[in-house]
């Protein structure tokens, strides 16, 4: 009986499974093959070579990769520190007020990211909301806060805030209250409770939140373009340029493959280390 159920389940899932498989993997496959085509060709029917990869390692694209990953790492760390107290409050303290915060954070997602970033440009630029008011009221002036690396990281933190916050809330909610109380009863200070109980027991949420915000930030482009001007070129920017202005699809493909490989292995590493069921379905092993 159970085996028959299993067979029916598998069979009925097969069509959509196929569609998903093809629609996810086919583009990847095309990119993978393009990445080993000679420079500036637009067909997959050429003799493969690895000139694009060679180019990446000789022409300074590594620097863009490092900027992307560096800023992604920084924004993820900042996000964790910023979101933890709020997430803790939402999971354990606020009760009804937590729902209010959830809605408030989700509402920001209703407006396109680019428009919100433009809002920040208008706020931070010289003659913008902040500098303009300061000058009008006090006569003091400064060069605006745009076009540097910290403001890009700020943009990443701002844009991916919900992606860290909500998984953290989920993770912290799974930490049993009595485990925290027992730790206190056994002599643990607040800091020791955080380190010995909260952190390991909410690890699934931390891993998911960090992966989401890191992966999104590593592939982000709008923040560095709009807020950062041309201060640094991130990897997503390079990929776009290669595909458009550069008219060099193999180079763009090779850059994409490297990005995918790094992010993919990080994700698999992270996900393997935690019990995702705890967060996704609430099942306990």
């Amino acid at each position: 009986m159970e085996r028959q159920d299993q067979r029916i389940g598998l069979l009925s899932a097969a069509p959509i499974g196929m569609v998903l498989f093809i629609s996810f993997l086919a583009p990847m496959l095309v990119i993978a093959i393009f990445s080993i085509m000679p420079q500036k060709v637009f067909s997959l029917l050429n003799l493969p070579d690895f000139s694009s990869y060679k180019l990446i390692f000789t022409q300074g694209y590594i620097k863009s990769l490092l900027w992307s990953f560096g800023m992604a790492m920084a924004s993820t760390l900042i996000l964790f520190v910023v979101c933890w107290p709020l997430a803790f409050g939402m999971a354990k303290v606020f009760k009804g007020f937590g729902l209010f915060i959830t809605i408030a954070v989700v509402v920001t997602l209703f407006v396109s990211e680019n428009i919100r970033l433009f809002g920040w440009v208008l706020t931070l630029m010289k003659g913008g909301l902040i500098e303009g008011h300061l000058r009008a009221w006090t006569g003091l002036t400064f060069e605006g806060a745009l076009y540097n690396v910290p403001v890009i990281v700020f943009g990443l933190v701002y844009a991916y805030f919900p992606f860290m916050l909500f998984p953290l809330v989920q993770g912290i909610a799974t930490v049993p209250d009595d485990a925290r109380q027992a730790a206190a009863d056994l002599g643990a200070s607040r800091w020791q409770i955080f380190y010995e109980v909260d952190l390991p027991l909410s690890a699934p949420g931390i891993v998911i939140g960090s992966l989401l915000s890191f992966v999104l930030a590593a592939g982000a482009m709008a923040e560095s373009k709009l807020l950062g001007g041309q201060t640094v070129i991130v990897i997503a920017d390079e990929i776009e340029t290669a595909f458009t202005y550069g008219q060099n699809w193999p180079l763009g493909s090779a850059l994409s493959i490297i990005l995918i490989l790094i992010i993919g292995s990080l994700s698999i590493f992270g996900i393997n280390r935690v019990n995702l069921d705890l967060i996704m379905g609430g099942r306990r092993s």
Binding site: D178, A179, Q181, A182, A183, D185, L186, A188, E196, P200
Partner: protein
């Protein structure tokens, strides 16, 4: 039991909004004793124990640990420890890491920690191989022992228990009750245990405190509570018991106001003195009631109809309906089974030394 209290509560109250969970509790806990707080759910016993370990704050009152006031001290700074109802073991740590947790917090070196954990595993009859086991690999009884070992590793001045045995099956619970009592004797520590089962309390405790609606109804040694409950509530809480409403008479004896009780002698002793017209409750345990045959006599006698007979293993229980319709319970050991048949008219009797008068509070 030494007379010096290790913990003293004075006027401890806890109010949740409109609801008074604890109402002006006074209590002395003596060094080295095994005190059990018993009460039905909602009586405030869990709130009390959580206040004593510092997880919950009290609304009013004072708590002394020896000479120091501790009611404002947070849980992590109190030298007391609790075994939670849920046990609250850390699922991400191994058995050994759980036991060593309080020692790790004190930055004891890993070798000493391991040695202490091994000692505690021994003390609680767990094999050394458990040291590396995960918590979810342990059975209910084993987890119980791990939680106990962890609490003992803390080396608390007082060890509190919040019904830790309630989730276990009957046989395991019975075994652990006895083990806990042994452990109490071996460690010499002060144990404070809460439960809703008086039976559990009787097995283990030196003293029992019966709690009801945020107050103590009676605090006494187990025998005293069993033989001389101060109220109907305590008497009924003790399990099957026969209670009769009685009144003092002019001739100096008692008369049943509901069930017709015949009192054989006019002089029942000072324990049964009741002023004329004052009502009280007469208590007798089912095992103290005899079936009277022929012209046998007893200090108190009741007639009725044998309604039912139940085999309870080593004992047999009988239900007898008195003439006013009230039921009485009688219990006999299996080998002293009553020879009568269900439906027979029977005479029941008991003597004054088995009776107890619960006077109006």
């Amino acid at each position: 039991m030494r007379s010096e209290p290790i913990l003293r509560l004075e006027g401890v109250s806890k109010v949740f909004g409109e609801f008074t969970a604890l109402d002006q509790i006074d209590l002395d806990i003596h060094e080295g004793e095994f005190l059990t707080i018993v009460g039905p759910s909602g009586s405030g016993k869990t709130t009390l124990i959580r206040i004593l370990v510092g997880i919950e704050e009290l609304s009013k009152g004072k708590i002394w640990l020896r000479d120091a006031r501790i009611e404002k001290l947070p849980a992590n700074l109190r030298p007391t420890c609790m075994v939670f109802q849920s046990l609250a073991l850390f699922p991400h740590k191994s058995v050994g890491e759980n036991i060593e947790f309080p020692l790790k917090l004190r930055r004891q070196n890993p070798l000493d920690r391991k040695a202490r954990a091994d000692e505690l595993l021994d003390l609680l009859h767990l094999p050394q191989s458990f040291y590396d086991k995960r918590i979810h690999e342990c059975s209910g009884g084993e987890r119980q022992r791990v939680a106990l070992a962890r609490a003992l590793a803390f080396d608390p001045e007082i060890l509190f228990f919040d019904e830790p045995l309630s989730a276990l099956d009957f046989r395991l619970r019975k075994n652990l009750e006895k083990e806990l009592k042994d452990l109490h004797q071996r460690t010499g520590k002060t144990f404070v245990y809460i439960t809703h089962s008086l039976e559990e309390a009787m097995v283990m405790s030196d003293r029992i405190a019966i709690m009801r609606s945020g107050r103590f109804e009676q605090i006494a040694v187990a025998d005293e509570i069993y033989a001389r409950p101060v109220s109907r509530f305590v008497a009924e809480f003790m399990g099957e018991v026969n209670l009769f409403s009685v009144e003092g008479t002019a001739s100096g004896t008692l008369v049943g106001t509901e069930v017709d009780i015949r009192v054989a002698s006019a002089d029942l002793g000072s324990g049964m003195n009741l002023a004329v017209g004052v009502s009280a409750t007469l208590m007798v345990r089912p095992e103290a009631v005899q079936f009277l045959s022929g012209d046998d006599d007893a200090d108190f006698m009741v007639e009725g109809l044998l309604k039912a007979e139940y085999a309870l293993g080593s004992r047999t229980q009988y239900k007898v309906e008195a003439d006013n319709g009230d039921e009485l319970a009688v219990e006999k050991l299996r080998e002293d089974r009553f020879s009568g048949q269900v439906g027979d008219r029977v005479r029941l009797g008991w003597n004054v030394e088995h009776a107890h008068l619960i006077r109006p509070g």
